[in-house]
């Protein structure tokens, strides 16, 4: 009688050695728990389906690259991937809320052409020039950090290396640069929006 169930660890090893059936067994064994977990968070069959698929794509990629180590158990590892993807999903939705195009709501009322026309382009250029003039009023150390961060697109790590100060100091200078910039804008009663 061969009634002993093959462990996940054995199936993972077999899959990493090229046995595709082992993956099928792993999915069949755990699909219900993983899918239920995802659905219990998102409450949408389609979204749960997408996250389930992305979860296993990550699993497949990791296993095929031989990056998986048997330190933990297979299922908790997959659940953690699914959990992270659920968080990503909610973060994305927070940034880009979905609009349900049903009833009286018209999706085109919230869509706009992001291309700037000539007028808004001129205003944008004018504002950018004004800001360039305003930042000259900042103290030297704050101006230096702000210029490196905004105009040279440097990371705070790079800024700290270049200026010889700690990352926290660079962050602090950036913070004060923005606070002071707001004060300068208020002092001059400027409106910097188009």
């Amino acid at each position: 009688m061969n009634n002993v169930e093959i462990t996940d660890a054995v199936l993972v090893r077999e899959y990493m050695q090229g046995n595709e059936i082992a993956l099928s067994k792993l999915i069949n064994r755990h699909q219900h728990r993983i899918y239920s977990f995802i659905f219990s968070k998102v409450f949408d069959r389609d979204v749960a389906e997408d996250i389930f698929q992305d979860t296993f794509i990550k699993v497949i990629n990791t296993l095929k690259r031989g990056k998986y180590n048997e330190e933990g158990k297979f299922l908790p590892w997959v659940m953690r991937i699914a959990h992270n993807l659920v968080i990503d999903h909610f973060r994305r939705n927070k940034r880009m809320p979905k609009f349900d195009n049903s009833g009286d709501f018209n999706i085109f009322s919230v869509l706009s052409d992001s291309e700037l026309n000539i007028e808004t382009q001129i205003i944008k250029d004018q504002i950018e020039n004004d800001v360039k003039e305003l930042i000259k009023e900042l103290p030297e150390d704050q101006l230096e950090v702000l210029t490196m961060r905004i105009y040279k697109d440097m990371s705070f790590k790079e800024i700290s290396e270049r200026t010889g100060v700690s990352i926290n100091t660079a962050l602090g200078r950036m913070r004060y640069a923005l606070i002071n910039l707001r004060k300068i804008i208020e002092k001059h009663n400027l409106v910097l929006t188009n």
């Binding site: 595709e20 219900h32 219990s40 698929q53 497949i60 690259r65």
Partner: protein, 50 residues
């Protein structure tokens, strides 16, 4: 007494038959079969074979 027509579904029953679609699982198995990882100069590249 008012007759109750609805039955509250327990959380356990709510998630009882939840499984991904057959197509999703098939897609994953096909993806896995098609994926080849090639190592060149220490860098691993994934390629999908049709």
């Amino acid at each position: 007494m008012r007759k109750l027509y609805t039955k509250k579904i327990s959380k356990k029953d709510q998630f009882k038959d939840l499984n991904p679609k057959k197509e999703t699982v098939e897609f994953l198995l096909n993806y896995s079969k098609a994926l080849r990882v090639v190592e060149t100069r220490g860098i691993k590249f994934g390629t999908i074979l049709n």
